[in-house]
């Protein structure tokens, strides 16, 4: 999401600037007087979402002052187990844009302090490498990215370094074979390099699944680092929501120390607390990428944006997924 403020002598001129700069899809968030009371100032946002207020069910409204959008934001952040310092930081930023819509206000706070990147796009020539501690959903995330490429008729290669876990290769090779793809298994960084360069893809994706790494074991991290460096991969940390805040942050920091700067969130369907993920990402300044809502491959991944993250945080848990993402799922 992008916010931009335009100042002009008249509303019409300001609107013209808005559409010239942000396109026809821009949504006007607020209009007010220009600096020194002269002219008009229009704040606009672009995003392919709607800005309507969500229905917040009765039992979810934590305080009697809930008409106060900032109270709503604070109580939801608190319910997610967000530490007070981070909640206050987000609140402060939420008050900085001229809207009292809590979703939009929180989205703009996320927009200010977090970055959001798409992992698979045509301009990224780097192999994507999915990394993380045991049992976070790496292989499923890999399968989802691969499935998406196959459906989009994009060439894709799948390689795994997962030779430790019993059944690790079998699980992935079963998934790739359903999609009519080969799976190369490699045993060393040199092997990975060879696999990538022996059969170079003109275009398209190279996806690498990795074996789980203990974030507190230096030697395991070092080996992973070698794999990453061997092919100049774009490493993506696969981490579940709902964990302990300190632990999640420690894990993210351990991977960040070997150059991992993107995070893909899993298990969003079976958790109700996003505070740990928010904290870990804020502390490490990693980029949000996508979230994996369900273990079903068919349900795929969803790009996360400031607005969808805000919806996710400010939603009734029972309807959380659909409502947060109904405008983003393909």
């Amino acid at each position: 999401m992008r916010f931009k403020t335009f100042t002009a002598a008249t509303i019409a001129e300001a609107m013209k600037l808005v559409s010239q700069s942000l396109g026809e899809e821009a949504v006007i968030v607020a209009t007010d007087k220009g600096p020194q009371g002269k002219g008009v100032r229009v704040t606009a946002a672009v995003e392919n979402i709607h800005f309507e207020l969500p229905h917040i069910p009765e039992h979810d409204v934590p305080s009697p002052q809930s008409e106060d959008p900032y109270d709503v934001i604070l109580s939801y952040l608190e319910r997610h187990g967000t530490p007070a310092h981070l909640a206050n930081k987000l609140l402060r930023a939420a008050t900085a844009i001229p809207t009292t819509n809590p979703k939009l206000a929180l989205a703009s706070a996320f927009d200010r302090f977090f970055t959001f990147l798409n992992i698979t796009h045509k301009d990224n020539p780097k192999p994507l490498m999915f990394v993380g501690p045991p049992g976070t959903g790496k292989t499923i995330a890999v399968a989802k990215v691969v499935a998406r490429a196959v459906m989009d008729h994009e060439p894709v290669r799948v390689i795994t370094t997962d030779n430790l876990k019993a059944g690790g290769i079998e699980q992935l090779s079963f998934l790739t074979s359903i999609m009519g793809l080969d799976l190369s298994a490699v045993k060393s960084p040199a092997g990975l390099l060879k696999a990538v360069f022996d059969d170079p893809l003109e275009k398209g994706l190279i996806i690498v699944d990795t074996n789980a790494v203990n974030p507190y074991a230096k030697d395991e991290l070092n080996v992973l680092h070698e794999y990453i460096d061997a092919i100049g991969a774009d490493p993506i940390l696969v981490l579940p929501a709902g964990g302990d805040t300190g632990e999640t942050t420690d894990i993210a920091s351990a991977f960040q120390a070997i150059g991992v700067d993107k995070i893909l969130i899993t298990r969003v369907d079976v958790t109700r607390r996003l505070g740990s993920v928010l904290t870990a990402v804020e502390q490490t300044k990693m980029h949000f990428t996508e979230i994996s809502i369900s273990p079903l491959i068919a349900l795929g991944l969803t790009a996360i944006t400031p607005v969808s993250l805000s919806r996710l945080v400010l939603s009734d848990p029972s309807q959380l997924i659909n409502k947060a993402f109904n405008n983003n799922t393909k």
């Binding site: 403020t5 704040t43 927009d111 990147l117 796009h121 790009a303 983003n328």
Partner: protein, 272 residues
């Protein structure tokens, strides 16, 4: 969304565009109470006015408002009347003839606004910042401490002047204020006034202690706005209720404050 090849977050210049930062708003803060925030807020307002800068002093110590008390005012209108409904913020402005600046008084002694809901606080701040359009400077005398109320009220001020003296607890509290402000608002501009210094030299040493801590742990170097010496001429405000710049315009403290005002007008005036 899919074709979004680059970071959705924009370059820093446009990221700041939705922050309503207003250069001529100066928040006077401290961690600890009793270090001279209110005294300096009043005196700086008067100093600005002497430099022909139109100035508004807002008593933002919502828990323990006392600008009016230190000035011996009995304002008919104050923030209480605004928050109770009835009048708007602009209507609550009173002119302080003696020193020629405007004041929005807090409500001393009666009630406690420190528990205002966040929306009301943000609105109050936005209204105040909007009033700033018709002033060269708006000074916000903040309460002590670092509670949320105070942080929201002063969020996105053009700059923060953090007041401290040489006492270790005042210094650590000032550091805590700076740390939390920069955590929440990494672009905040922080300046320091060392008050109640025995000499300029001693004040500069105190500043170094604080700025070294900021450099080492926060990776920032705050600016020294100035040192104000401890001065017996600073009257016991409750007893005399007359601003120092009026009673003793040439005393040490007054001349130090004039120096600071000169410096701040060069740095932060709206250049009208």
């Amino acid at each position: 969304m899919k074709s979004n090849a680059t970071a959705i977050k924009q370059d820093p210049s446009s990221a700041q565009e939705h922050v309503p930062r207003t250069d001529n708003i100066i928040a006077i803060a401290s961690g600890k109470g009793g270090v001279g925030k209110t005294f300096l807020s009043i005196s700086l307002s008067q100093a600005f006015s002497k430099l022909n800068k139109k100035t508004l002093l807002f008593d933002g110590d919502l828990g323990l408002a006392n600008v009016d008390i230190q000035l011996g005012l009995m304002p008919e209108r104050d923030l209480g009347s605004v928050l109770g409904g009835g009048i708007n913020l602009k209507q609550s402005i009173i002119h302080f003839d003696l020193a020629n600046f405007d004041i929005i008084a807090g409500r001393s002694g009666v009630g406690n606004f420190a528990t205002l809901p966040p929306l009301r606080l943000a609105q109050l701040r936005n209204e105040l910042f909007a009033l700033g359009n018709s002033y060269d400077f708006v000074l916000v005398d903040l309460g002590a401490g670092v509670d949320r109320t105070m942080r929201l009220l002063s969020a996105y001020a053009g700059s923060y002047i953090v007041v401290t003296n040489a006492e270790p607890t005042a210094l650590t509290d000032a550091y805590a204020f700076i740390k939390i402000t920069l955590y929440e608002d990494p672009d905040a501009k922080i300046k320091i006034i060392i008050n109640m210094a025995d000499s300029h030299k001693e004040g500069e040493r105190t500043f170094l202690t604080l700025s070294n801590a900021c450099r080492e742990f926060l990776k920032i170097s705050p600016q020294l706005a100035g040192v104000v010496r401890r001065d017996k001429k600073v009257p016991d405000p409750i007893r005399y209720q007359t601003p120092v710049l009026t009673r003793y315009p040439n005393c040490h403290a007054a001349s130090d404050i004039m120096d600071i005002a000169y410096r701040l007008t060069n740095m932060a005036s709206k250049n009208k």
